[in-house]
Symmetry: C2
Subunit: 493 residues, 2 copies
């Protein structure tokens, strides 16, 4: 279903722009700072939107939101000061004195001396009603407007803090941030669900067919949107030891489920000098540490936003607390199959077969409703670059991190470092025919890392930011974890 | 010229992997921490690469680099301890005792008790010679290997710190990080130099032609790679007031210059409640503050890496110091034309014409060799969304930030907020024919921001990360500012 954009009725409505609302001369303060620092009896200016209005005979109370935090600032003005155009979602600029509030639900309020309506608020076909919480399936149809709703603004603040916490973690741990490329000539996973990128010849647009003139020649070879920056991170880890990226990634799956996006954000880390079981233990500790420290920071900094989500998503808080308070469960693939064999109503898993999401959820539930680090996978169902266990060459030193309610949020492992073994496991020729007769030519650079010396064994993992957000906040549909989701047939704005 | 990957001769060389080099049991420490904290007389393990080796009869001295900082750690071992396979760029894991150094060039050194060669170092067609600094034009041909060189590792550390400093700035200032989409159906600038994205049908690959089977149908309408997230940021600023993104951006220019990339990183900020001259002043202050604070943090945290670059790029340090110590120059477009009219040997600029890079450089040089905030541009040469000055409707409330040696590093301004004016300035129909008869349908959502109420005037800017790095470090070719550069005909790995 295409997202219907709102029409343009009511366009010509008079607007009230004022020219003296900027931050230069006056003391413009943000709501979050006023509520936190409480600079009583100071004259301050606040710019924001009206999210609540109670009109009494003498006085009018406004709840003002400037997007800086979950709480609103109460403003009090004499009712004869109230501008005629003031309404729900009006944008205002108000100057007044911060004073203690007599009402028990807030500590301070702004006694307004001057108020200006910068924009009059909801007009025309504005899709959201005043004082009403709309279901996510509805607000999602208006990606350009939903950041104005309380719940989605909350989500965006939590998302921002989660990204910051991820960066803080890697900074503390001495990792170097590396931008792996979006445009690439190889498909890391070999899965085939890639977007192809072509050069739009602008000079030909006047002669264009219904699809425009696109050419493949920009890079002289087919180019795709990255599905993972891992192979590139391995190259850089061979100079900087500890590296990570934080990047959009793409899958062109023709999927309409609530679990898939065509464009999502992933953080990937790669660390040199990780070998064997001992290296794998270090990697598992790193992954668990990252997830716990990031969630802890987000809970500390944006607790009110998180709490607001938890009020709607029963049970999530418990699952998150369990994840933070105890070690993650650790099981091997073989152990997992044992557990699953006792599961009623689940499709059986044959040895060597991948798990479905329902299996993942059963495992997290039966292992204490906590995250599960699932290791020792059959080598045959893992990508070509995974290292085998030394004690059983049919198993991969690989891990999936499963979390309750969501399933897989991260995957990783140690990389195969022995060049002949790696060559033997290279993926089949890619979707295109290179000019070069060697179909795996596009991975020659990756083989060079092992062939030319100075390269060391590495290991790493990738964490899907949106799925981690789903787990932390109990968000049902992954499309509600980022501002402008893209999925099959949906690229509305 | 296509990048030639190194061949696979010497593949089968014996490798020495050891299984006890992980970080679990032993006290693995990074070089940066040892040199900073100097935990004398402690037994520590260091993993890293040999960047220097002096073999004396009794003792051998190694300079060890683990990528964590510019300085190396000196290791001292008895020469009879020296592994036979030890060579330049060998990867080693060494355990020893940190002790004061008798040599004046370092304060501490590691007295080695045990050393293992994890990888023997340069082999086969390894393109970099020991103890030799290769020119950037050469190392650029080996993007997968150049992170192992001292100078490029330095660049990557500075780049990482610059990105961190940008995030720190916006966190301090209360901005919310927002991920604007990479896949988009509209072309923000209307410039036409966009990449088109198509769905590669994996199931058809076996029948594939030489270019594979690509289809336009994934999004039901043509989709492009973003050139800017600004329009999307404006939507979110209308709920969160202060927002920024940090994102890859794309241009499919058929350019081979040292100033252009097909894929680059940009940070864009957008702030609500900015109006008129006063709002523009706030925006200019914001842009100048960001650039200065970011450069200051980078100089503090990675000073040795920056100094190493400055030793090769004469004059850069002076320009950077001037940028930090004094206010940026501010001139209007009209004033700039006056200055340029006195320039010998420069092509004349007619009023209403854009400036070329040579004009930009002349301006920064003639205005004190400092960055220049160039404002009051002719509205006609700025994009459709720029706001006009109130006192002269032929001028835009727009700014370009020019820096010595590089030219434009940032651009921004206030946005046109009056809906009928905005509609009148919409760009011409895009490259494709929509199913919809309204060619500007893809920007309907953007018009909604003004049409439906609760929207306020906003302003913002975008800063090119690579160009700011060029200025800070004096890097001649922009392709040397990021690990895997892409430009016309170049997507080597």
């Amino acid at each position: 279903m295409a997202v219907k954009m709102v029409g343009l009725r009511g366009l010509m409505a008079t607007r009230h722009y004022c020219n003296n609302i900027n931050n230069i001369e006056r003391q413009v303060r943000r709501v979050v700072a006023l509520l936190r620092d409480q600079p009583l009896h100071q004259t301050v200016t606040v710019n924001g939107w009206v999210k609540g209005m109670r009109r009494h005979k003498e006085r009018t109370f406004l709840d003002i939101d400037d997007g800086s935090c979950y709480k609103k600032l109460q403003m009090v003005l004499k009712s004869d000061q109230r501008p005629a155009t003031l309404g729900y979602h009006s944008a205002v600029s108000a100057t007044g004195i911060l004073q203690p509030s007599t009402h028990p639900s807030q500590e301070v309020e702004l006694l307004v001396q001057q108020i200006q309506v910068v924009d009059v608020g909801m007009q025309g076909d504005y899709p959201f009603k005043a004082r009403q919480t709309h279901p996510p399936d509805y607000t999602r149809r208006f990606p350009h407007l939903r950041p104005r709703t309380n719940s989605f603004a909350s989500l965006l603040r939590v998302r921002s803090q989660m990204k910051a916490a991820i960066q803080h973690y890697f900074e503390r741990e001495g990792f170097i941030n590396v931008d792996t490329p979006i445009l690439t000539t190889n498909d890391c996973e070999g899965g085939g669900e890639v977007f192809m990128v072509q050069h739009l010849m602008a000079q030909q647009q006047s002669k264009g067919s219904s699809e425009g003139k696109a050419q493949n020649s920009y890079f002289k070879q087919p180019a795709y949107l990255t599905v993972s920056g891992q192979l590139h991170l391995e190259a850089v880890a061979n100079g900087l030891s500890k590296v990570y990226n934080f990047s959009p990634a793409f899958r062109s799956e023709n999927s309409q489920t609530r679990r898939h996006l065509a464009e999502f954000w992933m953080v990937e880390a790669e660390e040199a000098f990780l070998v064997g079981r001992e290296g794998m233990e270090a990697l598992l500790g790193r992954l668990e540490g990252l997830v716990k420290e990031v969630m802890t920071e987000v809970l500390e900094v944006t607790s009110e936003d998180v709490q607001a989500h938890w009020q709607r998503s029963q049970g999530t808080e418990e699952a998150v607390r369990r994840a933070l308070d105890k070690p993650f469960s650790r099981v091997s693939y073989a152990e997992a199959l044992d557990i699953l064999s006792g599961a009623p109503d689940l499709p059986p898993v044959s040895p060597g077969q991948d798990l479905a999401r329902e299996h993942e959820l059963y495992l997290t539930n039966s292992l204490g409703h906590r995250p599960v680090l699932l290791t020792d996978w059959p080598l045959t169902i893992k990508p070509f670059y995974m290292s085998a266990c030394e004690d059983d060459s049919s198993l991969a030193l690989a891990v999936d991190l499963l979390v309750p309610g969501v399933g897989e949020v991260a995957g990783g492992g140690l990389r195969e470092h022995h060049l002949p073994t790696l060559q033997g496991r290279l993926p089949p020729p890619q979707h295109h025919h290179n000019n070069n007769s060697d179909n795996n030519n596009s991975l020659q650079w990756y083989l060079d890392l092992r062939a030319l010396g100075g390269g060391v064994p590495t290991g790493g993992f990738g964490v899907g930011v949106e799925r981690l957000l789903q787990f932390l906040l109990g968000i049902h549909n992954i499309k509600d974890t980022l501002p402008f989701p893209r999925w099959a047939h949906h690229c509305p704005c």
